[in-house]
């Protein structure tokens, strides 16, 4: 009994360690890619780990306007992200928890994180943070249908209601699902860039509060709450990244090959995001909805193709 379960236990352990330790590496990779493409040396790849360690030791400062809601954003963001991370498979490896309809819970956990982050931004009473919160709420209303249309197309393709099996797409690229799959992934990459506040939707490195979305919502966070915010953001890069990468990856016969493939693909995704960020500018705020509608259309067409 026990020896039979051992490989599965090891995989879950690896899943947990990946969730806890790996996320801060992703923003580091993106930053390094951008720096190299701009001909700079850039901060070390492990910079976010150093930042988190530093912030965990620092005193937190709170505005006198804030209440306990101010802390709900950072705490809720990380808690919801961690629960969601248990539901998603990392490549062709089993998700620790899998049940019928976990895909709905997955999407709504990110909704919960967003709700709490918006509230903690509004708690400061700052007009800048209000602006960021309003933009986040507006743009996510367009990202949500794209996400669900993609889920619907995948569910239609393989009749599964749980992330673990839904994302394990009938992999070979010669099947009739290739076209829809490419459309789904195109739509989801748009959602990925928007949800993770990346160029061309949002610029995490801008210095002008007026033009930011996500970063401006956490202007007042400091110390440990800020550490949670940063970790939560990188966790989102990992978990949503797994959502995009898994259907695209081929299935390998051995577990270790699947894990390696996933890590390599994740690194590739980070580099890809870095390349996108280096090669284009942020859209004007009014263009962002059009960009997101493109994502909705791509996933909607994917579903239509599934019907044919």
């Amino acid at each position: 009994m026990l020896p039979a379960m051992l490989p599965a236990m090891l995989q879950f352990l690896l899943h947990g360690l990946t969730v806890l330790l790996l996320p801060p590496l992703i923003p580091g990779l993106i930053a390094k890619t951008k720096a190299l493409m701009a001909g700079r040396q850039g901060p070390p790849v492990l910079q976010l780990y150093y930042d988190l360690a530093k912030l965990a030791r620092k005193q937190a400062v709170f505005s006198r306007t804030t209440t306990w809601v101010f802390l709900a954003g950072p705490v809720g963001g990380v808690a919801a992200g961690l629960v969601a991370s248990c539901l998603v498979p990392f490549g062709h490896t089993p998700a620790p928890v899998s049940f019928q309809g976990d895909v709905i819970l997955f999407a709504y956990l990110f909704g919960l994180a967003r709700f709490l982050t918006i509230l903690s931004a509004l708690d400061t009473g700052s007009s800048f943070e209000g602006m960021g919160a309003a933009r986040e709420a507006t743009f996510s209303a367009l990202a949500e249908p794209a996400l669900f249309l993609g889920f619907a197309a995948l569910a239609k393709a393989n009749g599964s209601l749980s992330l673990g099996t839904m994302l394990a797409f009938p992999g070979s690229l010669t099947t009739r699902f290739t076209g829809p799959l490419i459309l789904i992934l195109a739509g989801w990459v748009i959602v990925y860039l928007a949800e993770n506040s990346r160029i061309p939707v949002d610029d995490p490195n801008t210095h002008l509060e007026l033009t930011m979305i996500h970063e401006v919502m956490v202007l007042d966070h400091s110390g440990r709450p800020l550490a949670l915010v940063l970790y939560g953001a990188s966790l989102k890069l990992l978990v949503l990244g797994a959502l995009i990468l898994t259907p695209a990856l081929p299935r390998a016969p051995h577990a270790w090959q699947n894990w390696l493939a996933f890590y390599a693909a994740l690194g590739g995704l980070a580099v890809g995001v870095g390349v996108v960020e280096s090669s284009m500018a942020r859209f004007r705020m009014t263009k962002v909805p059009q960009f997101l509608v493109a994502g909705v259309l791509a996933t909607a067409f994917a579903f239509l193709l599934m019907l044919v």
Binding site: V69, G101, L105, M131, A134, A141, P145
Partner: protein, 651 residues
Amino acid sequence: MSLALLALLVAAVSGVPGLFLRRRGGEVAAGLLGLAAVLGLMAALRVLAGGAGGALQLRTAALGSPGLLVLDPLAAFFSIPVLLLSFCGGLYAVGYWEGHRGHTPILRLVFGFLTASLLMLVMASHALTFLLAWEGMAIAAFLLVMAEDREPETRRAGWIYLAATHTGTLFLFAAFALLAKVQGHSGFGALPAGLAATRGGTALFALFLLGFGFKAGVLPLHVWLPPAHAAAPSHVSALMSGVLLKMGILGIIRFLSWVPDPPPWWGGTLVALGALSGILGVAFALGQHDLKRLLAYHSIENIGIILLGLGLGTLGKATGHPAMQALGYAGALLHVVNHSLFKGLLFLSAGSVLHATGTRDLERLGGLGRTMPWTSAAFLAGSWAICGLPPLNGFVSEFLIYLGAFRGLGLELGLGRQAWPLVILVSLALIGALALACFAKAFGAVFLGLPRTQAAQQAPEAPRSMLLPMGLLALACLAIGVVPALFAPALGRVVGLVGGAPAGGEALVALAPLRMLTWAALVLGLLTLLLGRWLRLVPQGRDLPTWDCGYAAADARMQYTASSFADGLVRGLRWALRPVAHLPRLVGWFPRPARYESHVPDPALDRAASPALQLAVRGAGLLRVAQGGALPVYLLYVLLTLLALLVWMVA
């Protein structure tokens, strides 16, 4: 059954002692409503547990089968929100309404009548008792809406409500008359197979949908709903939004439960109406500045979600897919109870805000979380639940509907029907995201940030008699959200009754892994506790201003307002919402201070219902010619009528 009838009686007389008591009338009424709730819940829970004598009947020989009032699982299920909310409302009224406004004893009396007619309505199983209770409910609710009849806004809201409810009733009279013609009696029971496909079946469906749609507030029949909910006292708004609207849904569900073989297009119609009500309901809510109007539009949105579930269930029934049928109906039914719990909670906490500050205008509030911590927590819980976020109850019912729709995607439903599950999925996702934006706006504008007016700054916390009902409702929301599997057997029994197929609680749990939601909720709670502790382990600096990009004297007027928060979405939806903005005119080098105003009017009310109402009033004026006031003329009318009848009988 006797317990349920006793509860009905106690509720009906709950306001009577208050007519004679000089003091404490409110407490006595609340106590009696509490007693009614305990009695009624005992009866309802026994039936829902599948106990012996689950369907007791009150038989009368004269009116034939199957009885006037029947306490079947569906009636028991719907009586739970009635009992809970009327008790909470009665208790809340003690602190909210007593002592400082007119008509208090009469209002208590009518509140008791409303509760009793609602209880009678859920148990009614004959057209006679149903319509009697329906009218009793409509009139009692009208009197309660008119509580503050000195305000012209209230009088207008009351008249619109009265006109709308009677228009709906007119359709119901036609529907029940047709039903009696079709089946030969006016009792409620299964209709013959094959009827639904005939023209008579179509007419029945359309008439019931119109009649009940007016009450449920299905778009575009919702015109009465926002003004009436805004004008009524808050505990009445809670009961109206939480329970009264659901009577329309109850009617639709009762009708669907009689039909063994609904055609698929019925399901499609329900889904289309649900998507329309859901998306436009929340879109209009985004444009509101008035807290209670905003909540009223969210009721329309939630009615939409319930219709989506009902449509899904009906599609499943029509195409022979029991899993889809069970999940759709279960989600819709659970959402009925869930919505009454969290919307009741939201209206009660909005009432506390109104009570403490005297305004419902979002732009005049702010920062109340500091002075009203409990009310703010209650409103947050309600917002959390209504957005369908885990781990509260709103998520569970939406989860069931989502799950049914996802299952429907993989089924062969026949040509042209493949799209309905997708419509449900995408509408639910869009509604969820928009509701989240709207409640972030409402909670943020009212409770977070800095107080925008003096009244908001000095708002006192609500008294305990108002906080207690809110706490009760919040706990119920949490209980259903965290341990939904506990309620599944009862829900399964009701679904079995509605669907016509046996779908017990076990079947429901097998279809939907509700226990996993409990685990998710527990892990989420544990993580939150751990992270919260970790945050508190380091010293904190307080009493510093908010970072405003270097400007240290930021004040309340510089905050982002509720209108600005929703502006992006309202602009994006302006093709549907048609917001009206009064722009200031700036002239010259040194323009004078100017005003800017924007609001989102209701096009269905302003462009369709109001003109129609005026036309009807003018048309009724023409009839006045016949009413001269002279007795001989009236006698002549009687004589002529008799003659006409005589001729008709002979011929």
